[in-house]
């Protein structure tokens, strides 16, 4: 039996983490930090699912969390490959270097 997790507090924590990640992705200029902030956002979603699953006494929330972890890992591995190429071409990990595509 799962011990009781207060739902609202749990969701609030998840929302705060999510916002921190969102702010990070928008303000950081270093692409590696942006990827880390994306991880924070995805894990905040995972936390929200776990809290919601605990509220309904279902395992679904935790199952979702495992899927989120797996997909986040896949996403980051592709992201790192792209960052390698970016570093190869621009010799920097600053996203401001990506400015060729514009109106």
């Amino acid at each position: 039996m799962m011990t009781h997790i207060p739902t609202n507090e749990g969701l609030l924590l998840a929302a705060i983490l999510f916002l921190l990640g969102l702010i990070g992705t928008m303000t950081r200029r270093n692409i590696i930090y942006i990827l880390m902030c994306l991880e924070i956002m995805l894990n905040a979603c995972g936390l929200a699912f776990v809290v919601a699953g605990a509220k309904w006494m279902q395992a679904d929330g935790q199952v979702m969390f495992i899927f989120i972890l797996a997909m986040a890992a896949a996403e980051v591995s592709v992201g790192l490959a792209l960052i390698l190429q970016m570093h190869h071409q621009h010799k920097t990990v600053d996203v401001n270097a990506l400015n060729q595509l514009k109106d």
């Binding site: 929302a15 994306l38 995805l42 905040a44 679904d60 997909m71 996403e75 621009h90 990506l98 514009k102």
Partner: protein
């Protein structure tokens, strides 16, 4: 639990999954571009044929998937589009100095993600298929890895798609927290009047709208679109414009339909505002573009806005109109990007509007097809796009959505201007030498483009055939 009888309902997905593995293994044995190309075409063809072998009437395959006429129609549409994209990719990549075989693995996997998305009936399956599609698309967009524009587009898409996916997930988490249900078909039963008014539930719906709106590139979540279309290889742009948007729209239509009537009015209003903004802003921003891929990007934003009108009509007529319009949109967009990639040379693409000056005087048939496509996108009578728009208007009027319908008509007129600007460019005389349009001598791609031309005319003149198919497969979702 899944059982043997259910397995065959997932035949198209299984075929695509196996095909990706076979292409991957074949690369380990020997690299051969032609084999990878022909094998992926065969896999798409086989997956398409397998759709006719399964007889479905709303069967749920575990909690995760549902196979009904609606999902079958969209699966067929997506696989056909992927077949076309694979076919035009061969001449495009043939002359390029890169590893070409992996492209087909990624294309098959992205298609697998898209077809699983349209049959998903659960948050988990939707999220997984969305990510399978997105992660493959990151690499597809950045496939020409020596091209710095491609890498830039790939990274931009990665960051924005990941942000939107997590926004979508957070929305799902909030909905799940309030309803305790992740299955779409059972979701409506759990939404009581109290839940529908709950602030967390509405917040969850808003986040889901934002997440799916990003995938469909609706205003205000559209900012990535022109950059990605412009930076990606033309066949990949075609994929982003059609398959990924179509799959997201198919899911949204099912989601909206399953929730019908039980969502708060504010959700409906949010969708209406998004639809109006997409129609107007998409068409207005396209006016001042010089890059044909960016024009198509903005035009696709407008087209998805039109589709939202049919979604908001929330009627059976609306669903059919949306499906019909999506088919015409697929055909037009695929042909447009097909021509762009058909004409592209060894290391460059013809994307500047001025590059198309005088196309008619050198490649009259190609110019005729492109004109046809542009007229269809603009919605001129006797083309497929006109019939599509006609049914959209019909569904909008049928549900008394006056403002949305008026905006649709007005923005269509705005669109006319920039479509005709491109068409005019092709008919202008130019003194440039003939070899300017050096690409485009690959017979299978020419046949497919000719086929698209026939489809555009056929649907425009005899829409009944397509309507009958839709009527037959989608009596109701």
């Amino acid at each position: 639990m899944i059982n043997g009888a259910d397995i065959h309902l997932l035949l198209p997905e299984i075929i695509l999954g196996l095909a990706a593995i076979v292409v991957m293994l074949s690369i380990a044995v020997k690299r051969c571009h032609l084999f990878a190309h022909i094998f992926s075409l065969a896999a798409f063809a086989l997956a398409f044929i397998s759709l006719f072998l399964i007889h479905v009437n709303g069967t749920q395959v575990t909690d995760l998937f549902i196979t009904d006429g609606y999902s079958r129609f969209f699966t067929g549409l997506i696989i056909a589009a992927a077949f076309f994209i694979a076919a035009i990719s061969y001449p495009y990549f043939k002359t390029r100095d890169i590893h070409k075989e992996e492209y087909y693995i990624l294309l098959i996997l992205a298609t697998l993600g898209a077809v699983s998305m349209v049959i998903s009936n659960h948050f988990i399956s939707f999220f997984l298929s969305l990510e399978v599609m997105s992660v493959s698309m990151y690499s597809l967009i950045a496939y020409l890895k020596n091209d710095s524009i491609g890498i830039e587009a790939g990274i931009k898409y990665l960051v924005m798609a990941a942000v939107s996916a997590s926004i979508l997930l957070f929305g799902f988490a909030l909905i799940y927290a309030q309803t305790g249900q992740m299955e779409l078909s059972k979701l409506q039963g759990t939404i009581s009047a109290a839940v529908a008014k709950d602030i967390l539930f509405i917040a969850g719906m808003a986040l889901v709208i934002a997440g799916i709106g990003f995938k469909m590139a609706l205003v205000p979540f559209h900012l990535w679109t022109p950059d990605i279309y412009g930076g990606a290889p033309a066949p990949v742009s075609a994929f982003v414009a059609t398959v990924s948007k179509g799959a997201a729209f198919a899911f949204l239509l099912r989601f909206f339909h399953d929730l019908n009537g039980s969502v708060h009015n504010s959700v409906w209003i949010a969708f209406a505002v998004i639809a109006i903004a997409s129609m107007l802003i998409g068409n207005l921003l396209a006016l001042r573009q010089q890059n044909i891929k960016r024009i198509l990007a903005y035009s696709s934003i407008g087209h998805l806005g039109y589709l939202m009108v049919a979604l908001l009509a929330a009627s059976v007529v609306g669903i059919k109109a949306a499906v019909f319009y999506l088919v015409t949109y697929f055909i037009s967009m695929l042909s447009a990007f097909g021509i762009v990639s058909y004409l592209s040379g060894k290391d460059n693409e013809l994307y500047d509007l001025d590059d198309y000056k005088g196309l008619f005087w050198q490649r009259p048939w190609l110019a005729a097809l492109f004109t046809m496509v542009l007229l269809s996108l603009a919605g001129i009578p006797l083309t497929a796009g006109f019939m599509g728009k006609f049914y959209l208007l019909l569904s909008g009027i049928g549900s008394s959505l006056w403002i949305l319908t008026i905006v649709l008509v007005v923005s269509s007129f705005v669109g006319l201007y920039y479509y005709l600007r491109v068409a005019l460019m092709m008919f202008t005389h130019s003194e440039l030498p003939r070899q300017k349009f050096k690409g485009g001598s690959f017979v299978p791609a020419s046949i497919l483009l000719a086929l698209m031309f026939i489809f555009l005319l056929w649907i425009g003149i005899f829409p009944g055939t397509l309507l009958d198919i839709i009527q037959h497969l989608i009596p109701a979702i």
